[in-house]
């Protein structure tokens, strides 16, 4: 058997977390009198997440880009015919790379801005990374469920310990909302396991559930993924969670956790319940368009920068569902692209907000204004990501939005028209945000001495900026890798 590279990528962060805890326990690292901790632990965590990134690059290199089906498959019996089965295709490959890229960035961004309970912080992030990668690798429904759910605990702790004022409320809301959706999915998984006699994803894709059962199964899976994505009207946990989470938590939440919903639709709902997916297409289109328009309008009226970006995430995820449920190759390709691109852009935007929040300790838009006079580099980067979020051609945001809309147009003209409205609104709220914080005269005297972005922040933002532009100019880099998996996701729907 080959070296289990997927398990290595998945469990390396967890091993790092355990090691850090052991070292801490053995050396009895002391908490200083002022409550701060030795921040070497932060670098130790960073080391492991960078190592994970490197191993994931190795994984990328051992992946055959021209191959078909799932690759690098690992299988070990677990119990009662349920297997620990891992394997990836193009789509999951890129989502794993996104995860292993964003985690070190999130940790770098935390250096200096997080100064209490560092060990627990680092351990939470590393554990979370393991579960996120596991979600994208799992090829068995029960294994997938375990990873999918388990990630809630570290995120719950991240929001609850290092979050803002209302962190307790936000963390509970985040947890219970997601759990409710997931447990319905669990019941559906059990039913599928009992009916088809397996929980292996590859075999379940071949199994034809009867249309009546498909409807219920689809709804159960939808309950879980729609909350995670999130879709209107079950999105309300997201603004709370984002606003309260620390910057790094928001980056991971928007960058990766939200993508699990879209990934779930493509990996499970479409191939396994094709009839139900077709049946529910108008329903998904309706709420996607509502999400895009409604969330954009709500974003416009926000006074909190993070809340604004959170609502913009809801709108952008609307494009993802629109693309997926267009059942066209171009739409699905666009949706996958949009997920990756949004991972970079929203992550970057939360970091951008984090930069000024660390200096001013407020996210209130009206407290800012005229930042361009003091922070020119910051203003430039902010401009880039604003434009990317709006969907300016040349940035990755453009490609995702245009393709999902083209896909939706082929399926339903009205849905595409509604989504186009959302693109306009996104320009409205993003440019408003940019104008009010960056342009104009400095009105708040506290801003007079504000410092421009430092090296640490540049290290975080530059890779994301490069990624955003690169994907915008050369989108085929992505499409070549994801084409196979997009067609695979569509095979059943198109055939049936």
């Amino acid at each position: 058997m080959d070296f289990p590279i997927l398990s290595a990528v998945t469990f390396l962060p967890l091993a790092g977390a355990i090691l850090i805890l052991l070292i801490k326990a053995l050396t009895g690292a002391q908490i200083r009198a002022d409550g701060t901790e030795d921040d070497r632990v932060m670098y130790a965590g960073l080391l492991f997440s960078v190592a994970t990134f490197i191993v994931s690059i190795v994984m990328f290199l051992s992946f055959d880009l021209n191959g078909t089906g799932y690759q690098l498959v690992e299988e070990v019996d677990w119990f009662s015919g349920i297997k620990y089965k891992m394997g990836i295709d193009g789509m999951s490959l890129l989502l794993i790379l996104l995860t292993t890229l964003l985690t070190p960035i999130a940790l770098i961004a935390s250096i200096g801005s997080i100064n209490k309970r560092l060990t627990e912080y680092v351990v939470s992030f590393l554990v979370l990374e393991t579960f996120m990668i596991g979600v994208f690798c799992a090829l068995d429904l029960v294994v997938f469920y375990v990873f999918f759910e388990a990630g809630l605990i570290p995120m719950f702790i991240i929001i609850g310990v290092w979050g803002g004022i209302d962190r307790i409320y936000a963390s509970f809301k985040f947890f219970l909302y997601t759990l409710l959706g997931s447990l319905f999915m669990l019941a559906a998984v059990v039913y599928m396991y009992l009916t088809a006699g397996t929980s292996d994803v590859v075999q379940l894709e071949q199994y034809a559930f009867d249309p009546g059962a498909q409807t219920w199964l689809w709804l159960a899976f939808f309950a879980s993924f729609a909350v995670k994505l999130p879709m209107w009207p079950v999105h309300t946990w997201l603004p709370d969670a984002h606003v309260q989470a620390p910057t790094a938590g928001s980056v991971i939440l928007a960058g990766i956790l939200l993508k699990m919903g879209g990934y779930g639709f493509l990996r499970f709902s479409l191939p396994m319940f094709p009839d139900a997916s077709v049946m529910f297409q108008p329903f998904v289109f309706t709420i996607s368009v509502i999400a895009i328009v409604y969330a954009s309008l709500v974003a416009w009226r926000q006074t909190d920068m993070k809340k604004l970006i959170a609502y913009s995430s809801v709108a952008h995820m609307g494009f993802v569902t629109l693309g997926i449920f267009s059942f066209t190759e171009i739409g699905v390709q666009g949706a996958v692209f949009q997920m990756l691109s949004h991972g970079l852009i929203s992550g970057a935007l939360f970091l951008i907000v984090g930069v000024v929040y660390d200096r001013m300790h407020t996210r209130d838009i009206s407290a800012y204004g005229g930042l361009v006079h003091r922070m020119p580099v910051y203003a430039t980067l902010f401009m880039l990501f604003t434009m990317a979020n709006v969907g300016l051609p040349g940035t990755s945001g453009f490609v995702g939005e245009i393709l999902t809309m083209v896909g939706a147009f082929q399926a339903n003209t009205w849905a595409a028209a509604g989504a186009a409205l959302g693109v306009i609104f996104s320009a409205v709220y993003m440019l408003t945000l940019y104008r009010r914080t960056v342009f104009g005269e400095i009105t708040n005297p506290e801003l007079e001495n504000i410092q421009d972005v430092n090296t640490k922040e540049l290290i975080c933002l530059i890779p994301l900026a490069i990624g955003t532009i690169l994907l915008g100019i050369l989108p085929n880099l992505i499409f070549d890798i994801t084409r196979e998996s997009s067609l695979h996701a569509l095979a059943q729907v198109a055939g049936g």
């Binding site: 326990a25 908490i31 605990i153 719950f156 310990v161 669990l186 059990v190």
Partner: protein, 476 residues
């Protein structure tokens, strides 16, 4: 027919427990207080030996003209019950010593309670069942009021006794009706009997009596009070060994005396309703609780509700799931009550959940272990409890009881709230004072049960195969 060989294959653990209990009484009479400390090791050793004997005579057998019959299914439950009872006994010693109630009667009562558990698990006749239930219950009443100078403990014992006696009465009355309408007290013969209204009545009364013993709603009202009032190590015992034994007996009686192939399938509906009521009561009842023991009492009601879903699924679908679920619950509960026993400050034990505030700062190991155990008992992935809940959902889905599955899902989410609240207090809140160190058995139990909960999540295959095998034996 008095064949020692046959008797021993069927009830060797019970013979040992009875002999050891009587020996203990004799030793106690001679040594007096000098036996106090030693008796706990003695009792634990006896219980572990009994578990080993149950494992040795795994296939079981039949004796006393069918008064007792032990299946490997029952032996599975015996092993878990005796081992957890032994661990609960070891955890009790330090607590009782500090409260100056370290008396050898405690361990002897546990041994007799274990004898009762063994008897009910080996019962094949209502007479044996009733004797076993009473042996277990009478020992439990005394244990509940073991701190006889404490009003709370006496109150707990009295409440438990009065309500328990009522339940025993119902059980006995049900048995007499069943006997009257079927002409026998043997499970086998009752199973073949013509279903009449009287028999049905008897069965319902018996279910009611048994529901009390497993603290299922609406016969649950004693649970929170007894959990809160009884000395903590006693609760650690109540929550584990007798729960396992009574729940499995509940299943065995229904499966063998009222099998679903006859016209007695009605019990499925009744048990289903009890299960739903327990899940709902357990979920909502725990929400406002701040006393950890009381909260765990409600949590056990909810968990018994989940277990009853497996029972209601019937022997074919639910029997194996029940064992997996109950074992997971017992392992997690032992650790959690170890946590309760660790909550000691100067001036005595504390029980309010807010006393756990910020525990992770000062005792990160204990806090992490307790978090894992809460995760396990809530059925969240990451620990063995998840596979228990998965098994129960599987039982519910395969027997087509969708309403129960949906109630299970919803009540799990509600229950998650109060488990999370404890996690929140341990992880998010400003820290309270340190706990005083407790004795090694308690700490060890907390860590071991957390480790076992995680280990069994990964290496569950042999365990679940065993559970399925013994459950299959029950069908034929």
């Amino acid at each position: 027919m008095f064949d020692l060989e046959t008797i021993l294959t069927a009830i060797a653990p019970e013979v040992l427990l009875a002999a050891a209990g009587l020996l203990g009484v004799t030793i106690g009479a001679f040594l007096g207080d000098r036996f106090n400390g030693l008796s706990f090791k003695f009792g634990a050793l006896v219980l572990f030996a009994a578990a080993a004997l149950a494992g040795y005579h795994w296939e079981g057998g039949r004796a006393f003209d069918g008064l007792v019959e032990t299946s490997s299914y029952a032996n599975f439950a015996k092993v878990v019950s005796f081992v957890s009872g032994g661990i609960a006994l070891l955890m009790a010693e330090g607590f009782l010593r500090r409260h100056e109630t370290l008396r050898y009667e405690y361990s002897l009562l546990i041994i007799f309670a274990a004898l009762g558990m063994g008897m009910i698990l080996s019962s094949a006749n209502f007479m044996t069942l009733y004797l076993g239930v009473e042996t277990l219950s009478l020992s439990s009443y005394v244990l509940a009021s073991f701190h006889r100078d404490s009003p709370r403990s006496s109150e707990a014992g009295l409440k438990y006794f009065v309500l328990g006696a009522l339940a025993s009465g119902l059980l006995l009355y049900g048995m007499s009706l069943v006997y009257g309408f079927s002409g026998s007290t043997s499970y086998e013969i009752v199973a073949e009997a013509e279903p009449t209204m009287g028999l049905l009545f008897g069965m319902v009364l018996m279910i009611t009596g048994l529901a009390f013993k497993v603290s299922a709603a609406p016969m649950h009202v004693w649970t929170p009070d007894v959990y809160e009032g009884s000395p903590s190590p006693v609760v650690a015992f109540f929550a584990t060994a007798p729960k396992m034994a009574s729940m499995v007996v509940f299943a065995i009686v229904l499966y063998t005396a009222f099998p679903q192939v006859t016209a007695f399938e009605n019990w499925q509906v009744i048990v289903g309703i009890i299960a739903a009521a327990s899940m709902i009561v357990g979920a909502f009842g725990a929400l406002p609780q701040t006393n950890l023991k009381r909260l765990l009492g409600y949590s056990s009601i909810a968990n018994m509700g989940y277990a009853l879903v497996a029972v209601a699924a019937g022997v074919q679908y639910g029997a194996g799931s029940l064992l997996i679920f109950m074992t997971a619950y017992v392992i997690a509960s032992l650790g959690l009550f170890g946590g309760v026993l660790s909550m000691r400050r100067e001036g005595g034990m504390v029980e309010d959940i807010n006393e756990l505030a910020g525990l992770v700062r000062r005792q990160p190991g204990l806090a992490s272990a307790l978090t894992l155990l809460l995760v396990s008992v809530s059925g969240f992935p990451l620990a063995f409890g998840f596979l228990g809940k998965l098994a129960v959902i599987q039982a519910g889905v395969s027997s087509g009881m969708w309403p129960l599955v949906i109630i299970l899902v919803l009540s799990s989410v509600i229950a998650m709230y109060y488990y999370l609240r404890i996690v929140k207090i341990m992880w998010f809140d400003e820290q309270a004072e340190d706990f005083e160190p407790v004795d090694g058995w308690v700490t060890t139990t907390v860590y071991i049960s957390a480790l076992v909960s995680v280990a069994l999540l990964i290496f569950v295959a042999p365990f679940s195969e065993l559970a399925e095998t013994v459950a299959a034996g029950l069908i034929s």
